[in-house]
Amino acid sequence: MERDRTAGPGAEAAASGVPGGQDSPDAGTAAGAPAEPGPVLVLEHAAKSFGAVQALVDGSIELYGGEAHALVGENGAGKSTLVKILAGVYQPDAGTLLVSSGEITLHNPAMAIAAGIAVIYQEPALFPDLTVAENMFIGRQPLTSGRRIDRRAMRAEAAAIFGRLGVQMDPARIARGLSIADQQVVEIGKAISLDARIIVMDEPTAALSAAEVDRLFDVVRALRAAGAAVLFISHRIEEIFAICQRVTVMRDGRQVLTRPLEGLTAGDLVRAMVGRDLSQQPAEAPGTPGEPLLNVERLTREGVFTDVSFTVRAGEIVALAGLVGSGRSEVARAVFGIDRYDAGTVTLLGHALRRGSPTTAMAAGLGFVPEDRRQQGLVMEMSVQQNVALASMGGLRRGGLIRAAAEHALAADWATRLRIKYGRLTDSVSLLSGGNQQKVVLAKWLARKPRLLIVDEPTRGIDVATKAEVHHLLSQLARDGVGILMISSELPEVLRVSDRILVMREGRLAAEYSRAEASEEGIMSAATGQLDRGSGQP
């Protein structure tokens, strides 16, 4: 059935033979050429600029019912802008948008929703104080006579949708505290309840663990089977081949390729994205570990992580792997002093760090690049140079005031070293692409010359080329004697970059591998608890 559907959109190729109107024997899609379901959405030659920056030059996309269509491109290629145009958030400067009902101009998100377009963002925006069911039905809750909200009907409808998706979720709980994967499920439920024909997923898997990604794929298949068009945006090429039928590649704000995925290779896609050959990244050369830098002893936080002990040595990259929710980030945050812990010790170079004090941790030579760069890593309203200098204020002060010249020099130096692409250093950091923003966060910490750097998901949502640069940068740092503790959900990244891999499961260290011993299968089975119990303990 799904295979047949693939042929539908693929029929673009077949269409050359069809326009005459002879009945297509192609089953499933049922209709002949005249009735051959046309695209459910066509965006042509959309352009959008912000000030002097032309974010989208020539964006075109065509979606058919029943297909999962991949949209790929490097950061800054214009994908997000295109998505926001479809969502009605941005109004394009030029271009036309056609949906099944005809040409349409989306002046606001409500119009996009009315046109049957639902967008699932990488980090969904829910109402934390409202219930899951209300989040799905806000503005169109089922009513009783007298126009009151029928809560019971609303919850029943929500429960029915979750049941269809095969997801366990209580419609009556408030949304506060839901994991990102659960929040996406709520958004998808909302799209289904809206009977959206076009569902745009903007990097939905970036924050998900492997099992959650599988679950999401099941949902995508269910949506396709119901005839919806799914526009799937991801940086993970293997996911695109796993779930999508066609692909559109964007580069520098233009559509450069739209084709069925069949017959394409990962290399083809990457070439189209970067416009040049990108040699398969070799594993970074391992460093030579020196003295122990960071010692974590039996760190415990009630209900979050238990008895976590490990060492990071100078010049060593240690990865903390595991599923989202296994306690990786929480351990890192506790080590750096952001979160409290109940028992255990953290020592850096033999000095015990005070609990719950990032200031002491920083003074002792610890740096922390958080997972969520927009919320926690950057001050989006401030300039590039201010952000770079943010953690190094002490050295730039004279008589209590920051010297702008010193700040500028510092930022210029690091921007060059990290090859950050920017207009002017005084531009707002929010104008940079995701990859360059991440480099700014790295620069901020590197400028402090840390002895040990904790990086949480350093390449989430970053394009292939920049990702390779970040990996190279981390290895370079390790060779210079910096110890690195890296948290990552991407196993290829873990395997390529790290010298040692610690796997967490349900708040405990489940296994430890050297790079030579490590394999994706090994890490995954340790992380999901399929490892032979008793042998996995480090």
Partner: protein
């Protein structure tokens, strides 16, 4: 959580309804907390001074509460949408003077018309506030701070050095706060009904829930296509209209109205709202809680008076209560978020 996504189970499980119960329990605790503090205050004061629980004094407290509780209803509507209305005291003052002075000219003017004038004045200012916030996209703190001064200034220009005195007001008007049914002031009953209706509206109607949604996450509200401007304008119009009506009641209750009527009422009202458990950054809280907050504040005010303690302590105690309420809300919110998060991540493992 990861593993559970793969499992196909009926959506309703004990763990899940557990998180719902947890949330609901917390909110019930929050409101009953005010009642406990209130009961403590009443018990202790009554123990020292029996007069405090006399019928007259209870009636006095209830009538005194009505104006604050009404204003708290309007203010809650604004605050849950992540805004604030600082102009209510000034609106009350202008409405009190202008409506009361109507009797000076035409003694036979029907009282409902006087209320309509007060409501109109308040509604007008509420719409001005709402338009500036919703269409002008100026933060409500700044807009209503400005209108606080402007309205008070206009009021002073109109009133000059004059005042309306009780003897110019008809007895049927000044009698409104004194009427009782079965020992309970009519006014308190009427206000309780209005507040119950307001709470019901916010809880059970789409536009009411949308106010909560807007306050809970304005960005999400925009993406969901909610009519933010319209709703926010509505909230300010309600707050203004209620302040206008409260002004008329103020005139009926105190009789003497000059240009200082209602000065700094906005601070007491916001205190009542926050003490009553309405989140100052929007999204959660109830009008019932806010009304309880108002009742608590006027009870404390009266208790101190009965005990012969200086008025100055009022302010200190209000301040202390505010900090206490905010701390409790903060602790509850942190604990609740953590508990809910654990349920989300640990579920099924």
């Amino acid at each position: 959580m990861t593993a559970t996504l793969l499992r196909r189970e009926p959506p309703e499980t004990p763990a899940d309804s557990g998180s719902r119960r947890l949330t609901e329990r917390v909110f019930r605790i929050r409101e009953s907390g005010i009642i406990v503090v209130l009961a403590l205050f009443v018990a202790v004061t009554a123990g020292v001074q029996h007069r405090f629980v006399s019928e007259t004094n209870i009636q006095f407290i209830l009538v005194n509460t009505t104006i604050y509780a009404l204003l708290a209803l309007g203010e809650t509507t604004v605050v849950i949408s992540r805004n604030v209305d600082l102009s209510v005291g000034s609106v009350l003052g202008m409405s009190a003077y202008l409506s009361a002075s109507l009797f000076g000219g035409h003694h036979g003017i029907p009282i409902p018309l006087v209320f309509a004038v007060g409501l109109g004045i308040g509604l007008g200012w509420g719409i001005v506030n709402g338009l500036l916030v919703a269409a002008g996209r100026v933060p409500s703190l700044v807009v209503t701070l400005a209108t606080l001064y402007i309205i008070r200034g206009v009021d002073i220009l109109i009133v000059g050095g004059g005042m309306v005195t009780a003897n110019t007001l008809p007895g049927s008007f000044t009698g409104i706060p004194k009427a009782t049914a079965a020992g309970i002031p009519d006014l308190a009953i009427a206000v309780a009904v209005v507040i119950a209706a307001g709470g019901y509206y916010l809880r059970s109607f789409r536009s009411g829930r949308e106010l909560y949604a807007i306050g809970s996450n304005p960005e999400a509200a925009r993406l969901a296509g909610l009519p933010i401007g319209k709703r926010v304008l509505f909230a300010f119009a309600v707050s203004g209209a209620i302040a206008g009506v409260a002004g008329v009641l103020w005139a009926a209750q105190y009789g003497t109205v000059d240009s200082t009527a209602g000065t700094s009422y906005e601070l007491t009202v916001i205190t009542a709202v926050v003490v009553g458990g309405v989140a100052i950054f929007g999204g959660s809280g109830s009008v019932a809680g806010a009304a309880l907050g108002a009742l608590l504040l006027s009870t404390i005010n009266s208790a101190l008076y009965v005990l012969g303690i200086s008025d100055f302590w009022d302010q200190a105690i209000f301040g202390f209560l505010l900090i206490l309420a905010i701390s409790i809300d903060r602790i509850i919110s942190v604990k609740l978020t953590e508990a809910l998060r654990l349920r989300s991540t640990r579920r099924g493992t």
